[in-house]
């Protein structure tokens, strides 16, 4: 078996009043065992919706309306609740983007943590393991912190408690949705190293959603860039950082604060992402794209393979043939 996870033409919709938000539109990717697959893209482009779709944890108004999710050869797209429960935790674990949306505010951290440990452990073993997990994610005074409620932890400690809960089940595939946004660089490094070690020791695979390109460069093997619900570029990490061939990817990389001198204005991508309820004809990025030509507004570009394993969704990608990647620009 080659892939631990295959996502084929995934579509996810949310009902919003009498309209439909097409949050994920025809997304496909494969993940090998032991691989880290990065998902990046503009806020609101469908990264979390993609992850949540994989394990059936969409909000009530969301549905997977098309495509397939194959985990270890099994189609898990529309599993019943009970069957999905068996997969969640020990097979596929998830670190959610905002700890407060998933941690129970009135239950102690220790209880929430032990709940995710396997039932084969007895009470004493669970307690010991829970303390160990907290220490692994860099939380001191573990014994005391198990007695704390979520609001008694700092933002970054809550995020690390979430990570500990996801790791408690020793998942084979970890969906990590922005797992280090609340962490300073030194603790971030410790957590990324911990994840790398688990990948090695348990042969864990991982989907990493992040907006931090430094983090993506440090740990990802492959990366997909999303825009307005679709994948617009997909490549191995080296190709993406050295030779981006999609105008959106390229513009995203140009808006970093380190690229400009102090006092100079930062350069966000002009304009707004399209309305996901009424996607325009043609390329979704066209109104904001500096390379845009007539064809872009007329025809929707397909995801095209332009090099081995390098895909881009752009009619005019050849125009970018000479642009330098972020590695060269950061120096």
């Amino acid at each position: 078996m080659e892939y631990i996870l295959s996502v084929k033409n995934l579509k996810t919709d949310f009902v919003d009043g009498d309209q439909v938000v097409h949050a994920v539109d025809d997304v496909s990717f494969d993940i090998r065992e032991g691989e880290t697959f990065g998902l990046i893209g503009e806020s609101g482009c469908g990264k979390s919706a993609t992850c949540r779709s994989l394990i059936g944890l969409l909000k009530e108004n969301g549905t997977v309306s098309g495509g397939k999710v194959i985990y270890k050869g099994q189609d898990i797209t529309h599993l019943r609740f009970g069957e999905m429960q068996k997969i969640r935790g020990h097979e596929i674990g998830m670190i959610f983007q905002e700890p407060m949306t998933t941690l129970n505010p009135v239950v102690k951290i220790g209880v929430q943590l032990t709940e995710s440990l396997p039932d084969t452990m007895n009470k004493g073993e669970k307690r010991k393991r829970a303390e160990e997990l907290l220490r692994m994610v860099g939380i001191s005074d573990a014994a005391q912190r198990l007695e704390a409620y979520p609001h008694e932890l700092s933002g970054g400690m809550r995020q690390r408690a979430m990570i500990a809960i996801a790791l408690a089940g020793e998942p084979k595939l970890l969906l990590a949705d922005e797992p280090t946004t609340a962490l300073d660089v030194t603790i971030q490094d410790q957590i990324l190293k911990l994840l790398q070690r688990l990948k090695r020791d348990l042969n864990m695979s991982m989907i990493l959603v992040t907006h931090d390109l430094g983090v993506a460069a440090q740990v990802c093997d492959h990366i997909a860039v999303m825009y307005a619900g679709r994948i617009v570029e997909k490549a191995d990490v080296h190709t993406l950082f050295h030779k981006p061939r999609n105008p959106y990817t390229y513009s995203l990389m140009c808006s970093l604060p380190s690229m400009v001198k102090k006092g100079q204005r930062l350069e966000p991508i002009e304009g707004m992402p399209p309305n996901l309820k009424e996607m325009p004809a043609g390329c979704a990025f066209a109104p904001r794209c500096r390379y845009c030509e007539k064809i872009c507004a007329e025809k929707t570009p397909e995801l095209e393979e332009i090099g081995k394993g390098h895909y881009t969704r752009c009619h005019l990608w050849k125009k970018l043939e000479h642009v330098e990647g972020i590695v060269e620009r950061e120096g």
Binding site: F14, D16, I40, G41, E42, S43, G44, K47, N61, Q97, E98, M100, T101, G138, I139, S140, D141, Q144, H151, S154, G155, G156, M157, T181, A182, L183, D184, V185, T186, I187, Q188, D189, H211, D212, L213, G214, A217, Q218, V219, C220, V237, H238, F241, S251, L252, S255, L256, P257, S258, V260, K262, L266, E267, P268, M272, P273, N275, I326, V327, E330
Partner: protein
């Protein structure tokens, strides 16, 4: 300490501690009650119109300091004075109401700071009406305007907070703070969930407000590139205390405290060929309950000597090699020239 005409917020010896609940066993045994020392003896001046960046390890007390400044946490010691309001400890209801109007906070955790049952429209209309920010007929226009400034689409007004992405919720939090036209903004990780492009847009927006309205800001962030870009001055905290404080560029170019030095060099590089970071911190995360003796950083400091474990270094002023003045709490600061008359 130097006095400044323009000081807007004056913090002196501020401490905020959270006592840990005791078990019955501990109570019977009459064990001393322990506490998390989240903020410990912090003194700080924030001047009108300046942006102060606040950085430090996760859990070191940044949010607690911010929350104490706007009285969402009770300080256990020390004073906070505001120009025009006076000592917050003695402030009455009216003064506190005035404070809450002038000073807005963007919370680190947008989800828990938004009312889940209220649509975005009702939330903004309520603020606009309670604070008389504009006429009723302009509510919709004003709401759309502020949402556009933070890059939010317009068709979302009737959604509730749960129907947004993480970064969209964060921007709703920013818009809510800015719609009040605050004089002081405490921004606790305001761009942590945003992609680079929207981060750039928000930072440009804050820079404009700073220039046009002389907005004063306390800016907490783990992203040191952003802190370097936006702040005039930077304060570095570790385990509840200030370790270093100084002018941004100088501090980034020649950090004086060993912890600052590691922090600003430990960011990942944007190069997939370089996967190891050259600077990291070894050793267990220290406890804010049983804090280390002497210098708080000594168990992990690469330069620690025996003295460091025994004697607490005070936050003192130094003249750095580049001529700037810096406050550093370390027995052996890096890159300094001579001691100026401290305090």
């Amino acid at each position: 300490m130097e006095e400044n005409q323009n000081t807007l917020i004056r913090v002196r010896n501020l401490s905020t501690v959270f006592p840990i609940k005791q078990t019955i066993f501990e109570k019977i045994k009459k064990k001393p009650q322990k506490a998390v020392r989240a903020v410990s003896d912090v003194s700080l001046d924030i001047r009108k119109g300046e942006t102060v960046g606040l950085v430090g390890e996760s859990g070191c007390g940044k949010s607690t300091l911010a929350r104490t400044l706007i009285r969402l946490c009770e300080p256990s010691r020390g004073t906070i004075e505001y120009e025009g309001i006076g000592d917050l400890g003695k402030a009455g209801k009216q003064e506190l109401a005035k404070l809450h109007r002038q000073m807005q906070m963007i919370f680190q955790d947008p989800y828990s700071s938004l009312n889940p049952r209220m649509s975005i429209r009702s939330m903004f209309y309520e603020i606009l009406s309670v604070y008389h920010l504009c006429e009723k007929k302009d509510y919709e226009k004003k709401t759309k305007e502020i949402l556009e400034l933070v890059g939010m689409p317009q068709e979302v007004l009737d959604r509730r907070p749960s129907a947004f992405s993480g970064g969209q919720r964060q921007r709703i939090g920013i818009a809510r703070a800015l719609v009040m036209n605050p004089e002081v903004l405490i921004a606790d990780e305001p761009v942590s969930a945003l992609d680079m492009s929207i981060q750039a847009q928000i930072i440009n927006l804050l820079t404009d407000l700073k220039e046009r309205l002389r907005l004063t800001m306390l800016f907490i962030s783990h992203d040191l590139r952003v802190v370097r870009y936006i702040s005039d001055r930077v304060v570095v905290m570790y385990l509840g205390k200030i370790m270093e404080e100084g002018e941004t560029e100088s501090l980034f170019q020649s950090p004086g405290h060993p912890y600052t030095n590691i922090l600003i060099h430990a960011a990942p590089v944007m190069n997939p060929e370089i996967r190891e970071r050259s600077y990291t911190i070894e050793g267990e995360t220290p406890s804010p309950i049983d804090t280390p003796s002497g210098c708080l950083f000594h168990p992990r400091c690469p330069y620690a000597t025996e003295e460091c474990g025994k004697k607490i270094p005070e936050l003192k002023m130094y003249r750095m090699k580049d001529g700037s003045i810096r406050k550093i709490a370390c027995h052996f600061p890096l890159d300094r020239e001579e001691l100026t008359d401290a305090d």
